[in-house]
Every structure is written in structure tokens, then in C-alpha cells.
Symmetry: C2
Subunit: 359 residues, 2 copies
Amino acid sequence: MSGDLRKPQPDPGASRACPQPPSLPEKLQDLAPAQARFCLGILRGMEKTLERPLKGSTIFAAFSGGADSTSLLLALRWLRPKAGFALHALHLDHGLRPSSAAEAEYCRKFCSELGLECLTQSLNLKNEGTSGVEERARKARYAFFAEKAAQTPNALIALGHNCNDLAEDILMRLIRGTGWPGLSGMRAYDRRRALIRPMLGTPRTRIEGFLAGLGVTWLRDESNLNRTFFRNRVRLDILPLILRENPSFLEAAAGLRLLGGADEEYFAALLADAAPQDPKQTVFVSGQRLAGLHKALRLRLYKKILDALGPGQTRLATLLEADAAWLAGKGPAEHLLPGGKKIRTEKRGLSFFAAGEIP
Amino acid sequence: MSGDLRKPQPDPGASRACPQPPSLPEKLQDLAPAQARFCLGILRGMEKTLERPLKGSTIFAAFSGGADSTSLLLALRWLRPKAGFALHALHLDHGLRPSSAAEAEYCRKFCSELGLECLTQSLNLKNEGTSGVEERARKARYAFFAEKAAQTPNALIALGHNCNDLAEDILMRLIRGTGWPGLSGMRAYDRRRALIRPMLGTPRTRIEGFLAGLGVTWLRDESNLNRTFFRNRVRLDILPLILRENPSFLEAAAGLRLLGGADEEYFAALLADAAPQDPKQTVFVSGQRLAGLHKALRLRLYKKILDALGPGQTRLATLLEADAAWLAGKGPAEHLLPGGKKIRTEKRGLSFFAAGEIP
């Protein structure tokens, strides 16, 4: 690739955070076989997930400078000539750490050495050190991604989540009380948001091995060690106990995701006409309609309607309560959900209210 | 109830293991309101699970002398006149601990004070202190239960599993890589084996509170603290971390079980004619038949056939591999499963072999 990525770069104030990339092979064909296989596996996986070739797409690769996004960006950079897509990096500087500006600078330089454009946006999120800031950072990140995707035809946002992230996500969902198929974790492809996660089946060790083999270092996010955050407690305290019981647990998580994906698609097809496409106000489902559906489908119908009514995670327990209340033919009762949504159960059927609506 | 259960009983060599039951109210009506509610909740739950009244049933309550089975036995003893079932206790002396004969004696006396018959069987399982012994003890216990149920019309075997056991079971299944709906844990009712678990929605704390309120003590199984056993590591090390994250996790587990039960019933109804009722030998499913089924249903069909072919837990990963191999139209390949079962994938379809069959 252009330039010598091993050459020291002036980087005042961020020497810890900004290791220097080495000079790298220019072409896919110049890689060692294991490294080329890593890249080709990503291409095959993406095209299988999308059920189409990547030719003609514009891929925006989210790039934080960490191991996952560095390996994904490098792999896509090497795959680009073969697969025929356009490639840009996206970096969001959340402004949450003193080092974040230097990290953004590192990312820009890394991309520039690869001959890639690095689209950067800077925020200034207030960091109270609580979990709330993680959620706000996540929202800001996805809004930035969505904006980029909306401006470009055939755009894809590629995210670096790996199989360890998936396993953590499944555990977090289990702990929170998520139902099935949501329990099976984040998706490899979110068509509506044009998000793709090409490394969701790849364990972190393999990603770090790929970079180590290339002599590439990466930024380490020390907030990953902060047990204030739920995800970090799962990663640092719970997942290791589970991997000790079953060293193949990451494979199990990957399998669960595939099964959940199949079930999600299956239920979605069955309920394609059952719920309003995009309800903005109260949705009423009659008892007669509900009586014709198996409980397994009724519960998914409720979830589908609630998801369409706005943000807020639906607790399975609330859906079960509402269904049981309707089945028991009880008088009117209200069931409150996160995000201000409500279900009203009556003998004649169920009404679903968006936040702020008065039942 | 008959006799004074608080009266000291001669019990040489097992004084630690055999606390003395106090005198107890004779009738349901004599219980404190919270205790009566505990009992009536069990009755309501059982009749709802069975979808019929318990009148005319013969309930064999598995009784180890521990907190769960003691509270279940007491509740059933108080419910018996109201609900109109016959009641016996079943105790299996596994012979695994020096104290086990004294524990069996304690159980017989406890039942005798309640005016109940305690059917006891003694085994002499060899205890190497490994997990294998737990599995053999479990098998022996269920074989003993099955024998009793087979001898009596309208028999039910009532087991003391509680909501903590369910949560542990879900975690163990998750760790092992179980698919959905199996992941949702043990069932409240197993029609084929006439097993019912009336306290599966009840947390351990509530059960111990019920006994404490009555002044009844119970046998403590010290092997529960032995981290040689997978279940104990889940109970002692993993579940507490999860309950710290979500103190309502037991409710989440109970909800997951209900959803899994609905899905199991739903898939079973769809596949009622899809698999042989009770295959004893090779089952072949043509590619044409598979092509007409959604992946969500194909995977459940494979599971159903394999379950019918004999014991051995089916790993989800193997089912996904076999399905992917068939979809990819690959040449003949064999996929091995626990219990000696096999799947052979070919373009023309899938063959399922019981243990010992030569593909």
C-alpha cells in the first residue's frame, strides 16, 4: 500500500494511544495464505448474508482504531479491487476521553496511509461515567452512520462486531429478560438501517491473530475495563466463567444467532399482513383475530406492533401478562412498557398505544 | 396432623441430617393466610398446567427431605382433601453418601407423621465424585418414578424443582449450546412421562419462607456445595452474578419457559405428521420435502427425528451444519451426534441413523 506505515508519525500527546502501523502488502495476493483466507472469508460471508455480490456497493466501514475495526478496514481495503465496491472509513469522535482528539487524528492518518478517506465527526458528549453515556454514544454513532448511508446509493455500513461481542450481547439480552428470537443477539444484517456485521462469526482471538501476523497494532480502549458499564461486567466477569465451562461457547452463540435469524424471518413472514406497516397511533387487535392465532404467534404479533409504535425494549413478561389477561377474559387493564408505550387488555381485544397517547 | 411432629425421634448416627418436624396444622383452613395461599397457588398452577382438575389422580411426590420436596409434600398433603387426589411419597436412596440410609429413615418417619406412605427404593451407585455419578443418579431416579407411574392409573409424579432450578437449567442449556425452544428450560409438565413440576415458577426464597413460617426444617444436601458438579458451579458462581445484574432474573427465566413452551407446542403441531411417530431405524427425508419447509421448520424436524431415534442431546451446531451441507448441494457427508446417532447429508436428502446402525 502507499507509503511506509511503519514510519513514525508525529503525534503529540497521544503516543500511548497511537501505535504506528507497519508497511503492509499492497495486494490481496501479497498476503500470507492465512491472512488472505481471513479476508476472503469476510467477502464470502458478506455476499452470503446479502444474497448478492458487493459489486457497485459503497461500504462505509466504522473505524475506531481498535482491533476489530482495524482488521475489518484492512480486509475490506484488500478485498476492494477484487469485489468492486467503494470504501470509506467513518470515525466518530465522541469527545468522551481526553485522548479522543488524538485518536481521531490517528484514525485519519491510518486511513490516509491506506489511501482511504476517513469521514470524521466530532461530538462533545457529557461523560458522567454512568451507563447512560454509553447509550447516548451508541445513539450518536448510529445517527452518524445513518446520515452517511442516506446520502449514498447502495450504501452499506460495515461494523466490526465479532463473535465475542455476540456472546456478550446474548448474555446481556438473557439477563434483561428478552424473549425469543431477540435473545439470539444482534443481527449480521439490518436491511432497514443498511448495517452489516461481517465478523460476527469471528472470535476476537482470530482477529487479533490476523493483526499480529501483519505486525499491526491498534488503539486499546481502556474504558473496556470499567466495570461501571454492564457490558464490561458481562465481558470481564460472566463470559469468562461460561467459556471455562464450554470453551466452544462462542460457536454456540454463533449457532444460536443463525437459529434466531431463521425464526425471526419465519415469524415475520407469517405476520407480514398481521400488523399495520408503520402504525403511528393506537392499534386495536380484536379478540376474534387473536383467537385464530396460536399463542406463539400472538406474542410475536404484540412485539411487532410495539416495535412499530416507537423505541423502548419490550419485556417478555409484559407480553405474557397481557396475553394471559386477555385469555382469562378479564376486564380492562393497562400494561405499561418501556418508552411510554401501553397495552390495554379487554375481553373484546387488545389496544396498543404509542408514548403520549391517552388510552 | 396425626402425632406431634415436634417430638424427638430416635435417630442414631444422623442427628445432623435429621431435624425434627414440628406439630403442624391438620387442615388447609388452619394454615396462616400466606401459607394457605402458597398451597392453593400450587393447586391452581397444577390444574392450569394439566388443563383438568386433579380429582381422581394419584400423585407420587418425589421426596428427598430437602426444602423443595418437603414444602411440595406438605402443600399436597393439605390440598388432598379439597382436590380429591391420592398421595404417596417416593424416596430413592442413591446410596451415595454415608448418611443416605439415615436420610431415607428420616423421610419415612416424616411421611409417617403426616399419615403418608413413603415408597422407598435403595440403590448402591458407585460414587467416584465426578459428574458422571450425577447423571447416573438422575437416570436411576427417573426410572424409579417411571416404574411407579406405570403401575397406577391416572398417576402423576410431582417434582420439587423451583424457579431457581429453572434459571440454572436455562444457563446450563445456554452454556452447552442448546437451541430454541429447548433453551427455555425444563418443562412444567411432561405428558409422556407423567411428570409435573408444580413449583417451577416459585423462587427458592419463597419455598424456604413457607417452611420457616411453619417451623419446619429440612435436610441440607452438602453435595450442593461441591464445585465438581457443573450445576453447582452454575448455582454458586454464575447465577449470583446474573441476579446481581437483574434481581428479577428468576421472573425472566419463568417468562422464557412460558414462551418456549408455546413455541414447542406450535412447532410440534406443525410437524405432527412430518416425522415418523416412533422411528426405530433409519429415517430418510427427501430434498423435495425439505425444500418445502422453511429453515426454522427444517431444523425442528431434524431435532424431532433425532429425539425419536434414542437418547443423546442434539447440538444445534450439528443441525445447522447438516442443513447448510444439504442446502449447498454437497456430496455425501456424515454428521455425528451424541448417543451414537448420525445424519448423512446428500443432494437427494437427509438420512438419520440411530446408534449402531451402519449408514
